[in-house]
């Protein structure tokens, strides 16, 4: 085993240590120290991840079991890490972006009191720890531990400002919706354990490759497992129908949104499905379902994003939409494309969020873009980086977004031309609403209060440097996956990942690829132009018709409230106020009371009169004698 692999256990351990130090010492640590510890530990694990990555690049991989987590008769689950292309790539994403965001947070959270500052960083570290656990896990159980861990951290961080009951409400919502997905994931794990007797990836996949479709693991089993896993993924990765928590999650601090709800946690579902590609490749039905769900989500979110005015809400829906794209790719079997887009969108989405954070910071907490405008002058760096982010997400060549999105569109085209059309349209929508956002925020004239205008200032270096770095990455990030059409065998990513997820099977003529690229690139350019024309100088207008529908997010929240939330409440009220006291408990008490009542009645037999006593006795005797001598004979 390579020496760098022996350090692998440090990757999650360092953030955990950071979390403990910050958590326990929150009353004693100064802000500098908490920040230093918080980001330093993540930097450490980033460096180790780099080592691991290099080792993996040389074609090595390993599963390292540390200790028995559960060893029962017929079930052995070690606490194991799996180091291979997929996990190492995700390690890089998480630790790098994680580090940048930690640094960013030091400046962003500076108003917090030192103790809650430390609390923030311990949560953040805890999150990084769980996320790394999720990615490193060598079996579904360890993965699940991380899986729930990130859910917990997102709960804690969304509700970080616990005095604000709204944010805690959003936190609860996020946790519970995640838990629904987690439950499905859990069921899938059980199913696998019961059928294959193991939870470790390699064993399960070998077993299924060997017995897939046979009695041991029938087609139904495959469908059930894949569906359950997918439901789990929809929970974490905010897909239909479980996506509504993500926009609300924006109640948390902005760096948190950038880290958890843009770059890393939300990609957990994708990682899981990519990880389980062996099973999925046997489940065509689930695959097409995934692709459609992904597409629908992408479209829905994009339409909603068109009409949002909260800067973070727009970004939130854009993320949901991007994730939809990725699921579309997964559904079409293009795992590489999916991972590729995860890789790129991590950068530009994080960038966009941090940018918005910088804006909000400058605006003194204001998030409504109708009250912004013309910020480009004051916040130059933010503006440029934000613009790069927009271009990247819009998919303008040669920025990263272009290549990854193009790969997805290509796979969609090959899988289902109809899906391709819709996906393309959604991509244009993306470009449109992103530029709407850009223009409303940075161009035109300032629409806020005078006080805000006076307060406007560029953020400190601690915030801008990460922005610049991320902008850089969003530009070049895509170049690891440049299709061979443009530059021959420049697709490093594909070759790197193929051992885990298998190579891109389909091969199409260069002509087709060229056509597709030009179509998307041109379409995007046109859209940008239109958006620029439409929003260069904005004046607030009442949205109407279909757009009003979009503005209200398709009324999905209300729908859920009436279909799920209220019935449950009524049900519990009914049980609590009627069934429990009036039915079950009443029955029990009735029995007890009837005993006393019987006593109350029977005692009147004891009339106190000798005559009646004798009479009763004689009657008893006579009956006995009669029965004895005339009936029982």
């Amino acid at each position: 085993m390579h020496s760098s692999f022996q350090l692998a256990f440090l990757i999650p351990l360092l953030p955990l240590i950071g979390c403990l130090i910050n958590g326990l010492g929150r009353n004693w640590l100064s802000k500098q120290w908490s920040g230093l510890i918080g980001s330093g530990t993540v930097l450490g694990s980033f460096l180790i991840s780099l080592l691991v990555f290099q080792t993996v690049e040389t074609g090595q991989d390993a599963v390292i079991a540390y200790f028995d987590f559960i060893r029962v008769e017929g079930l052995h689950i070690p606490f194991a890490f799996q180091l291979d292309a997929l996990s190492s790539l995700f390690l890089l994403i998480i630790t790098s972006i994680g580090f940048l965001i930690h640094v960013y947070s030091i400046a962003y959270m500076h108003q917090e009191s030192s103790s809650s500052f430390a609390r923030y960083f311990s949560y953040l570290n805890l999150f990084v720890f769980s996320m790394l656990l999720l990615v490193l896990g060598g079996n579904y159980v360890v993965m699940f531990i991380g899986w729930e861990g990130v859910g917990l951290c997102s709960y804690l961080l969304i509700g970080f400002w616990f005095k604000n009951l709204e944010s805690t409400k959003a936190a609860n919502k996020a946790f519970i919706m995640n838990r629904i997905g987690d439950l499905a994931f859990l069921l899938a794990i059980f199913w696998l354990i019961i059928k294959t007797g193991s939870a470790s990836f390699l064993e399960v996949f070998d077993f299924i490759q060997a017995n897939g479709g046979t009695v041991k693991f029938s087609a139904t089993d495959i469908t059930v497992v894949t569906l359950l896993l997918f439901i789990g993924a929809t929970g974490k990765s905010a897909q239909l129908p479980l996506y509504t928590w993500l926009p609300d999650a924006m109640a948390g601090p902005t760096p948190v949104s950038a880290l958890i709800h843009a770059a890393t946690m939300v990609t957990a579902g994708i990682y899981m499905i990519a990880r389980s590609n062996v099973i999925y490749s046997l489940a065509p039905f689930t695959m097409s379902l995934i692709s459609w769900v992904g597409l629908a989500t992408a479209f829905l979110a994009a339409t909603i994003a068109l009409q949002q005015f909260d800067i973070k809400k727009v970004l939130a829906y854009s993320i949901v939409s991007q994730l939809g794209f990725i699921f579309l790719a997964l559904g079409s079997g293009a795992y590489i494309a999916a991972v590729f887009h995860v890789f790129t969108q991590a950068f530009f989405n994080a960038l966009l969020f941090l940018g918005s954070g910088s804006v909000i910071h400058a605006m003194g907490g204001e998030q409504d873009i109708r009250k912004m405008g013309g910020l480009s002058g004051k916040l130059k760096i933010t503006y440029f980086t934000f613009m790069i982010g927009c271009l990247a997400i819009a998919g303008l060549p040669p920025l990263s977004g272009f290549f990854s999105k193009d790969a997805i569109l290509l796979s969609a085209f090959l899988h289902q031309p109809l899906q391709y059309g819709l996906a393309l349209f959604t991509a244009f929508l993306t470009a449109f609403y992103m530029f709407r956002l850009l223009f409303l925020t940075f161009h035109g004239s300032f629409r806020g209060t005078a006080a805000q205008q006076a307060h406007l200032h560029e953020s400190p270096a601690l915030m801008t440097v990460p922005l610049i770095l991320l902008a850089l990455l969003s530009v070049v990030g895509g170049w690891i996956g440049i299709p061979s059409v443009l530059i021959h065998d420049a697709d490093r990513l594909g070759t790197f990942l193929s051992p885990v997820v298998g190579p891109m099977l389909h091969e199409v003529s260069h002509a087709t690829k060229w056509v597709l690229m030009t179509v998307s690139a041109g379409g995007v350019l046109l859209t940008l132009g239109f958006a620029g024309y439409r929003f260069s100088n904005y004046s607030a207008t009442e949205s109407k018709g279909i757009f009003r529908f979009f503005e209200h997010k398709w009324y999905v929240d209300q729908l859920y409230e009436h279909v799920v939330g209220k019935p449950i409440t009524y049900m519990s009220r009914l049980l609590n106020e009627w069934v429990e006291p009036r039915l079950i408990d009443a029955l029990v008490n009735r029995v007890g009371r009837s005993v006393q009542l019987a006593g109350k009645q029977i005692r009147f037999l004891q009339s106190g009169k000798i005559g009646s006593y004798v009479l009763l006795m004689v009657l008893a005797m006579v009956t006995v004698l009669l029965v004895q001598f005339f009936i029982r004979k």
């Binding site: 008769e73 009951l165 519970i176």
Partner: protein, 492 residues
């Protein structure tokens, strides 16, 4: 020998405290020391004493009846004794400064109850089992009525009558079994030798099951429980729900399942339906509670439902999970009760409506509460996770044809548990501080100590649960051997 020690230490303590009345300082110190001693004895058993001679004790007693004073500490007994000793230690530690009227009597009754419960956990003779069963009940009756709230007398009386009613049916079952044994003995071994027809098993099953179902409590026999938990003094509630309910589980694992395997299979669906119905039902009710203690009480019913379902899943995963859960649930719920008690004492209210915003001034308390509450809903890397993981897996793997329905119900319960737990945390700790919670809640050193101990246990067994598994592996193995349906039907 160790088993006898475990019984004698609290017994001596109880009788001493009954005779020699002391003030709170004296009584609590004495009982703390005693509980520490028995905890140490338990640790010695875990690390040093393993031979059968050390783990069992038999003395002639009521020989004319065919009974005998025989105790043995098998896997089940071990984990439950560990729970009992640990929980008592923690509780007494916490209670150093929790003043209470007539302390000597209070602690004496608690210790007496400990004797009874340990006896139930260790008895290998059915009559002896019944003796201890009632012996555990009487002190609880006095504790709950005498140190309880306004309604406690009637509520506790209901609890007593209910439990007693169940137990007398069990007594009839025991007597019947004894009359069927070859050597007219109450010993578990000789009872196991009886060949019972499936009809006999059926009615005996119900006679035993009712007793345990009431004790657990399983829906719909649960109505005594929330009232009793609410009305009793919280330390008493803690013992009731952390240890006493385990008597019911033990009854299922040691008496019902091994003795009536066929009936357990025949009635498995019915019982599991009751259990999972209880899970959902209790969770729904918990969502509505405003009284902190009632809320925890209903959540505890839900947990018990899962345990019961696991017991009748009739496979080793479930058994193993259940055995771990016995310990972890005890520890977690104890923590919950201690915290609830602290909150009630410091803020003077239990209603979560008038609480809120505690987190602002008392972060430490909040952290403890959140960790323990999350452990209570079995978050990974907390001790309850492994248990519920195996339990749930076992329920899904049950031989019943309705496994999917049970799984769905359990899953629903898991989600709802998150709902009401988070609701509780939010209502009690988040938001702006109310009038009652505006000042910081200071925790005494020993209170922090006890809570840290609990959190330590939660995290330790959450990260490496294997010790607990090893402790009980043999038991679950041969329990499965006795109740394995396929082999049973191969035999008959």
């Amino acid at each position: 020998m160790v088993v006898l020690l475990l019984l004698l230490i609290p017994l001596i303590g109880a009788s001493f405290l009954f005779l020699y009345k002391g003030d709170h300082q004296f009584a609590s110190t004495a009982s703390l020391k005693l509980s520490l001693v028995s905890l140490l004895v338990m640790c010695l058993r875990l690390f040093c004493w393993h031979t059968p001679e050390q783990l069992s004790f038999t003395a002639p007693w009521l020989t004319s009846l065919g009974s005998s004073f025989s105790l043995r500490m098998d896997g089940l007994g071990t984990i439950l004794s560990l729970l009992t000793t640990t929980a008592y230690f923690l509780l007494f530690w916490y209670m150093r400064s929790r003043t209470i009227e007539r302390p000597a009597a209070f602690f004496a009754w608690l210790l007496l109850a400990q004797v009874g419960m340990l006896g139930v956990f260790l008895a290998m003779d059915s009559l002896l089992f019944y003796f201890f069963w009632e012996l555990a009940l009487i002190p609880m009756y006095f504790l709950a009525s005498q140190w309880g709230g306004a309604r406690s007398v009637s509520v506790t009386f209901k609890f007593f009558i209910y439990t007693f009613l169940g137990s007398v049916f069990m007594l009839i079952g025991i007597l019947y079994l004894q009359s069927k044994t070859a050597d007219h003995s109450f010993a578990l071994e000789s009872i196991k030798k009886i060949k019972l027809t499936s009809d006999q098993q059926s009615w005996l099953f119900w006679f035993f099951f009712i007793a345990f179902a009431i004790k657990l409590p399983v829906f719909p026999f649960h109505t005594w429980q929330p009232d009793t938990y609410e009305e009793s003094a919280t330390p008493v509630t803690a013992i009731l729900s952390a240890i006493m309910v385990k008597m019911g589980v033990l009854g299922l694992l040691r008496w019902v399942l091994p003795l009536f395997p066929i009936a357990s299979y025949m009635w498995g669906d019915v019982v599991m339906s009751m259990a999972v119905a209880g899970i959902v039902y209790a969770s729904f009710l918990a969502m509505q509670q405003v009284d902190l203690k009632r809320l925890i009480a209903y959540s505890s019913i839900a947990h018990i439902g899962l345990m019961t379902a696991g017991a009748f899943a009739l496979n080793q995963l479930a058994y193993q999970g259940l055995l771990i859960q016995l310990f972890t649930h005890g520890i977690n719920i104890l923590g919950m009760w201690i915290l609830a008690d602290i909150i009630e004492r410091k803020t003077g209210t239990r209603s979560i409506d008038s609480l809120g915003g505690i987190a602002q001034h008392s972060p430490t308390l909040t952290i403890f509460f959140v960790i323990i509450a999350l452990a209570n809903i079995a978050l990974p890397l907390t001790n309850a996770f492994v248990g519920e993981f195996l339990l749930f897996a076992g329920v899904l793997a049950t031989p019943s044809t309705y496994y999917w329905a049970f799984a769905v119900a359990v899953g629903l319960g898991i989600i709802l548990s998150a709902v009401y737990t988070l609701r509780m945390i939010r209502a009690v700790f988040y938001g702006q501080p109310s009038a009652r919670t505006s000042m910081a809640i200071r925790l005494a050193l020993h209170e922090v100590g006890a809570l840290v101990f609990i959190v330590g246990l939660i995290l330790f067994f959450g990260i490496c649960p294997q010790p607990l598994i090893d402790m009980t592996a043999d038991f679950s193995k041969d329990l499965f051997g006795q109740t394995d349906i396929t082999s049973l039907f191969r035999k008959s």
